[in-house]
C-alpha cells in the first residue's frame, strides 16, 4: 500500500484540480482566455520575446489560449503540475510516505490561479495562469542541472541542492535587477479573491451573461438572473439582463425581472468598474459604436490586448465602415488558433455587405444605431450612468425600439420630467395600442404628483394596475402610520409589490453606480 501512496496523492490532486477548474470554473477559465491574446506569427512573437523573460510569457500566452476549451487548457496545466510533482519527488528523493509534500507547489499554483476573482480583468501580467507554473518548472530544471553538474563533487545531495537554490536565487535577483519589466519581476499584490471565484454566484453569473450576450443568446442571459429574492444581482447583471430584454422586445418587463442591482462586495482593495468588466459589449448592444470601440481600446492599453477587445473592435470598425481597420483586426484574429472561424465569418461581412445586413449583429443593433446628431461627450468611466443620462436627454424616438428604450431608461433613472414627455410621445404614437403595464405604473405614479405635466384623466389605465397602485399606497400609508421605517416597509411590501415600478421608485435608493 505504501508504495502506491505517491500515485494516490497525485490522483487525488488531479481529481480536485479538475473539479475546481473545468467542472466548477469553466466560465472563469474561458474568460481568462478571452482576456488573453495569442497570435501565431513573427510580429506578435517578437513583440513579446524582445523583453527579458519574454519567451516564458510567449509560451504561457500560447498555452492560455487553450482555455477556449476549459477542459483542454486545464489538462495542459494539470499535466505541468503533475510534472512538477514528479520532478520534485525525483530531485529531492522524497520517500513515498512524504510524497504529499511534493504537492505543495502544485497546490499553491492551483490556489494562485483561483485567487484572481475579479482580478482576471485587472491583471497586467499576461497569461498569468501559466507563467508561474513555467517559472517553477524552469527553477526545478535549473536546480536539477546544477545538481547534475556537481554530481562528481564529494558532498551530500542536500549541499548540492543548497548550492543550486543559492545560484537560482542569484540568477533571479540579477534578472530582476537588470530587467525590471520582465515576468521575473515579482510585483505581487495580495488579492484574497479565491472566495469570489469559488463562492460568489454573481461573479459567475456575470461571466456567463457576458458570453451569452456576446453570442446573442438572450434567453441564456435571463437564466442567469437569480430567482431567489434573497440574492440581489449586481448592477452589471441588471444591465445585461435589461439589454437582453431590450433585444427581445420585453424591456417593459425590466422591473418585474429584478432591477435593484448592488455593487459587488469584495474582500480586497480592488475597485471594480463596469467600464472594464463590460462597457464595450454594453455600448455595442446599445448601438453606441464609438464608445464600445473606445472602451475596448482603453482596456487593451491598460490591461493588455485581448481576443475580447479585438472582436469588439472588429465589429465596431465594420459598423462604422472603417474597413481598413476591420481588415487589420480580422487578419490578427485569423492568425489565432480558436478565433479564426469567427474572423472568417466576419470577413464575409466586409466582402459582401449582404452578409452584414443579414447578421444578428446588424439586425439586432441597427434599430438602436445612433442616428442622432453627433455629440461631444464623455462617460467618466461610468457607462451605466452615461446611458441613463443619454437616453433621458433624448427626445422623439426614431424607431419603436428606441421609443421603448427611452421610456424604460427614464423610469430606471427616475427622471420624472423626461418620462412624462416620453409618455406623451408614446401615447400619441400608439393611440390604439394597449399601454404596457410598466408604462401605466410610471404614468400613474408621476401623474399623481402635484407638478406632473400628465393629466391622468386623459388616459385610460387598466383597472388592475390602478387598483394595485391604490393598494400599494394604502398599505404604504398604513405601515408608515404603524411607525415602521422605510426598510421595514420595503420588506413588508416586497412580496406583493416588489415587481412593480412603485416599489423600485420608493425603496431602491442605493443606486451605487461603479
Amino acid at each position: 500500500m505504501k508504495k502506491y501512496l505517491k500515485y494516490i496523492y497525485i490522483l487525488a490532486f488531479i481529481t480536485v484540480a479538475y473539479i475546481l477548474l473545468p467542472v466548477m470554473n469553466a466560465d472563469y477559465l474561458y474568460t481568462i482566455q478571452d482576456n488573453n491574446v495569442f497570435i501565431n506569427g513573427h510580429t506578435f512573437m517578437m513583440d513579446i520575446v524582445q523583453h527579458a523573460g519574454g519567451w516564458i510569457t510567449w509560451v504561457a500566452c500560447y498555452l492560455t489560449q487553450f482555455f477556449y476549451y476549459p477542459w483542454l487548457g486545464s489538462t495542459f496545466l494539470i499535466l505541468l503540475w503533475v510534472a512538477i510533482y514528479w520532478i520534485t519527488i525525483w530531485m529531492f528523493r522524497i520517500s513515498d510516505k512524504f510524497s504529499f509534500l511534493a504537492l505543495i507547489i502544485p497546490s499553491l499554483l492551483l490556489y494562485h490561479l483561483l485567487d484572481y476573482g475579479y482580478w482576471i480583468y485587472y491583471a497586467k501580467a499576461p497569461a498569468f495562469p501559466f507563467v508561474p507554473t513555467i517559472l517553477v518548472i524552469f527553477c526545478l530544471l535549473f536546480t536539477w542541472g546544477v545538481m547534475f553538474l556537481t554530481r562528481n563533487l564529494k558532498i551530500s545531495w542536500r549541499w548540492k541542492g543548497l548550492i543550486a537554490l543559492s545560484l537560482l536565487f542569484v540568477v533571479i535577483m540579477t534578472v530582476n535587477w537588470l530587467c525590471p519589466s520582465s515576468p521575473w519581476h515579482f510585483n505581487y499584490n495580495y488579492r484574497h479573491s479565491i472566495l469570489t471565484t469559488l463562492t460568489d454566484k454573481n461573479f459567475r453569473h456575470e461571466l456567463r451573461m457576458y458570453r451569452a450576450l456576446d453570442e446573442f443568446r438572450f434567453e441564456d442571459v435571463f437564466k442567469e438572473m437569480p430567482t431567489n429574492q434573497e440574492q440581489a444581482p449586481t448592477n452589471l447583471m441588471v444591465l445585461y439582463k435589461n439589454i437582453a430584454l431590450m433585444h427581445t422586445g420585453q424591456m417593459d418587463k425590466m422591473f418585474e425581472t429584478g432591477n435593484c442591482g448592488i455593487k459587488p462586495e469584495l474582500g480586497d482593495s480592488l475597485k471594480i468598474r463596469t467600464s472594464l468588466l463590460g462597457a464595450p459589449i454594453v455600448y455595442y448592444m446599445f448601438g453606441h459604436i464609438n464608445y464600445a470601440y473606445r472602451w475596448a481600446m482603453e482596456n487593451s492599453v491598460q490591461y493588455g490586448l485581448s481576443f475580447r477587445s479585438l472582436k469588439i473592435m472588429t465589429r465596431c470598425a465594420l459598423f462604422n465602415q472603417e474597413f481598413d481597420a476591420a481588415a487589420k483586426y480580422i487578419a490578427l484574429l485569423k492568425s489565432s488558433t480558436f478565433h479564426r472561424s469567427w474572423a472568417i465569418e466576419h470577413e464575409q461581412w466586409m466582402i459582401n455587405s449582404t452578409h452584414f445586413f443579414q447578421s444578428k449583429d446588424y439586425q439586432t443593433i441597427s434599430p438602436l444605431l445612433n442616428d442622432y446628431e453627433n455629440r461631444l461627450d464623455g462617460d467618466d468611466g461610468l457607462c451605466e450612468q452615461f446611458l441613463l443620462e443619454y437616453y433621458s436627454a433624448l427626445d422623439h424616438a426614431k424607431t419603436p425600439l428606441l421609443e421603448d428604450v427611452m421610456m424604460c431608461m427614464t423610469l430606471w433613472s427616475k427622471d420624472f420630467y423626461a418620462y412624462c414627455f416620453n409618455f406623451y410621445d408614446y401615447v400619441n404614437h400608439h393611440p390604439n395600442d394597449p399601454l404596457p403595464a410598466l408604462y401605466q405604473e410610471g404614468a400613474i405614479l408621476f401623474g399623481n404628483s402635484e407638478e406632473s405635466p400628465i393629466t391622468l384623466n386623459r388616459f385610460k389605465f387598466d383597472d388592475m394596475v390602478a387598483d394595485k397602485y391604490n393598494g400599494f399606497v394604502q398599505e404604504y400609508n398604513s405601515l408608515q402610520y404603524q411607525g415602521m421605517d422605510e426598510q421595514e416597509i420595503a420588506n413588508r411590501l416586497k412580496p406583493l409589490y416588489g415587481n412593480t415600478y412603485w416599489w423600485y421608485y420608493y425603496f431602491y435608493n442605493d443606486f451605487n453606480i461603479y
Partner: protein, 503 residues
C-alpha cells in the same frame, strides 16, 4: 571512412538545396499594364542613400511572387510567398551602386498557374543620407488610458530596434503612469527629455549625459511642462503648460477631441532648475513652441478664445464650442544671453475668417528657410482629425503650400525634419485611419517634397500585425545610451521641484 561519407553526402545535399533556391523571373509571363499592388507602397519613391532594405509584400491575391531589382551594376531577384525581403548585404551593394540613380523593380505574380508581369517601377536613391535613428512612442491609439507603452529607438540603416524606456517597468496593478513627449537638443541624445505623468510623475531630463527627474509644476504655472522644445545653443527648454481635457464623439469617426481649456508658455533653465513665464495672455491658448535653428526666434501656436458663459465650467464650454478653437502661428524674438523675449509677431493668421483653419506642431527646417506644420479645420490635436494635412511655409516669402506628396485623405500630423534638412517625417494614419505610421519624404534642394514612403520593416507584414501607433517620431543622429534600467530606477525617485523665477 564512414563518417567522411556521411559528411560528404550532407555537404552535397546542402549545396544542391542552396542551388535549388536560386530564383529566376518567369519568361512566359503575360504583361499587365499597371503597377503591381504592393504594401507598403514603394513605387516611384525617393529613398536615402543609407536606408535599410525596402521590403514589401505583393497584394495580388494568394500568390507566389518574384521581384527583380536592377541597379547600375547588376540585378538581384527575390520572392518568398507574397513577400519580397531583400538580403541586407546585397541591399548595401545596390545602394552603393545606385546612389544618385534609380533601382528598377519588376514584379511578377503567379496566380493559379499563370505568371503576370506588372509595369515596372523605380525606386530613386538620393545622394543624401538620413539620420541613423528615429525614436517614437509605441502606444495603442488610446483615448484616456495608458500603461502599456514604451519609447523605442529604431536604426534606419538596418532593422535594429530597442526600447529606450518601457513604462511597464515601474508599473503595477495599483501604480501606473503615462510617458510622453520625448525631445532632443539638435538631434543628439546627451541632452534629451521625456515626461512621466501620474504614478511616478516628473520630467526625466538628461543633460550632458546625466539623468535627473524634475517637477516643473510651480504654484505660478498652469501645469508641469508639456510640449517641449530644446533651445539649439543654450541649456534652455521652452514648454507649453496645458490644462488638457478629452471628450468623445458619440458618432463622428474622428472619435475624440483633445482640448486645452487653458495653456501658456514657459521657459525652463536647465542649469538653474528655474521656470519662468514666456506668455500667459488671457483669452489666448499658447502651445507648441519650437525654436528657429539659430535660437533667436521662438515659434508657437495660439488660439484666441474667450469664455462667455460663467455658469458652466470652462471645460464644459470648451466642449460646446470646440469647433471655434482655431490656432494661428506666431513668433517671438529671443535673446539667448539675456533670456529676454520681445516683439511677438503673427506669422500665419490661419484662424482668420478668410482661411478659417487651425495650425499646430510647427517645425523649422535646419537651414531656417522653411517651416512645416499640420493644419486642419479646428483644434489642437490633429492626429485625431482626418482632415489634417501637412503644409509648408517659405519663411522668406511667407508663401504656404500644401505638401500633396506627403498627405493623404486621412490624418497627417507631427512633421519633423532630419538634421540635414533633406528628409521630412510625418505621422500618418493613411493605412487604416487608426494607427499612426511614420512616413518619410525626400525634400530636395529646390524645396520640393517627393512621394512619402512608410518606414521599412524586416517583415513587410509587420504593420498589419502591429497594433501600436508610432507616436511623435523624432530623428536622432545617435542612439540614447542611458539604459531602460537607469531610467526606471530614476523614475522611482522623487522629482526635484523646479523653482519659479519672476522675470
Amino acid at each position: 571512412m564512414k563518417l567522411k561519407n556521411i559528411l560528404s553526402i550532407v555537404t552535397i545535399t546542402t549545396l544542391l538545396a542552396a542551388c535549388g533556391q536560386h530564383l529566376t523571373v518567369p519568361s512566359d509571363a503575360k504583361m499587365e499594364s499597371r503597377l503591381p499592388k504592393i504594401y507598403p507602397d514603394y513605387t516611384e519613391v525617393t529613398i536615402p542613400a543609407n536606408i535599410c532594405p525596402m521590403n514589401f509584400i505583393v497584394q495580388e491575391g494568394e500568390t507566389e511572387v518574384r521581384a527583380r531589382l536592377t541597379y547600375p551594376d547588376g540585378e538581384f531577384i527575390y520572392g518568398e510567398g507574397q513577400k519580397v525581403q531583400i538580403d541586407e548585404n546585397q541591399w548595401q551593394e545596390i545602394l552603393r551602386s545606385a546612389k544618385g540613380k534609380e533601382i528598377k523593380v519588376e514584379v511578377y505574380a503567379k496566380i493559379g498557374d499563370q505568371w503576370t508581369a506588372y509595369q515596372p517601377f523605380n525606386i530613386y536613391v538620393a545622394e543624401d543620407s538620413i539620420d541613423e535613428y528615429i525614436s517614437y512612442r509605441a502606444i495603442q491609439p488610446s483615448y484616456v488610458a495608458y500603461e502599456r507603452l514604451s519609447i523605442n529607438q529604431r536604426n534606419l540603416t538596418n532593422f535594429d530596434e530597442r526600447e529606450i524606456y518601457n513604462n511597464m517597468s515601474v508599473s503595477s496593478e495599483k501604480v501606473g503612469q503615462c510617458i510622453n513627449c520625448h525631445s532632443y537638443q539638435n538631434f543628439k541624445t546627451d541632452n534629451m527629455l521625456f515626461h512621466m505623468r501620474q504614478g511616478y510623475g516628473g520630467t526625466m531630463i538628461v543633460t550632458n549625459g546625466e539623468l535627473r527627474k524634475v517637477d516643473l509644476k510651480t504654484d505660478e504655472t498652469l501645469s508641469a511642462g508639456v510640449y517641449p522644445a530644446w533651445h539649439p545653443t543654450h541649456n534652455l527648454i521652452a514648454f507649453s503648460t496645458n490644462k488638457t481635457g478629452q471628450s468623445f464623439h458619440t458618432k463622428d469617426l474622428n472619435k475624440i477631441e483633445v482640448q486645452d481649456t487653458e495653456s501658456d508658455l514657459i521657459l525652463y533653465d536647465v542649469d538653474k532648475n528655474e521656470v519662468s513665464i514666456i506668455s500667459e495672455l488671457d483669452d489666448e491658448l499658447e502651445v507648441f513652441p519650437t525654436w528657429s535653428p539659430d535660437g533667436k526666434k521662438l515659434y508657437f501656436c495660439s488660439a484666441h478664445f474667450e469664455y462667455y458663459n460663467d455658469s458652466i465650467e470652462k471645460s464644459a464650454e470648451m466642449i460646446q464650442r470646440y469647433k471655434e478653437v482655431k490656432y494661428s502661428l506666431y513668433s517671438v524674438d529671443f535673446n539667448p544671453d539675456t533670456k529676454e523675449f520681445s516683439n511677438v509677431e503673427m506669422v500665419y493668421d490661419a484662424a482668420s475668417d478668410s482661411i478659417n483653419q487651425s495650425v499646430t506642431l510647427p517645425r523649422v527646417s535646419p537651414d531656417g528657410r522653411y517651416l512645416l506644420f499640420a493644419q486642419a479645420e479646428f483644434g489642437c490635436f490633429h492626429v485625431w482629425h482626418a482632415d489634417a494635412d501637412i503644409y509648408m511655409m517659405n519663411l522668406k516669402t511667407k508663401e504656404i503650400q500644401k505638401l500633396d506628396a506627403v498627405n493623404s485623405d486621412r490624418s497627417e500630423s507631427y512633421p519633423t525634419w532630419s538634421s540635414n534638412g533633406r528628409w521630412i517625417m510625418v505621422d500618418s494614419r493613411r493605412d487604416d485611419g487608426n494607427y499612426t505610421r511614420p512616413y518619410i519624404a525626400y525634400f530636395d534642394k529646390k524645396g520640393k517634397a517627393h512621394k512619402a514612403f512608410m518606414l521599412p520593416q524586416k517583415d513587410p507584414n509587420y504593420y498589419t500585425f502591429y497594433l501600436r501607433s508610432f507616436n511623435r517620431p523624432e530623428f536622432m543622429i545617435e542612439p540614447v545610451t542611458i539604459s531602460p534600467r537607469e531610467f526606471a530606477a530614476k523614475a522611482k525617485e522623487d522629482a526635484i521641484p523646479a523653482k519659479y523665477a519672476d522675470r
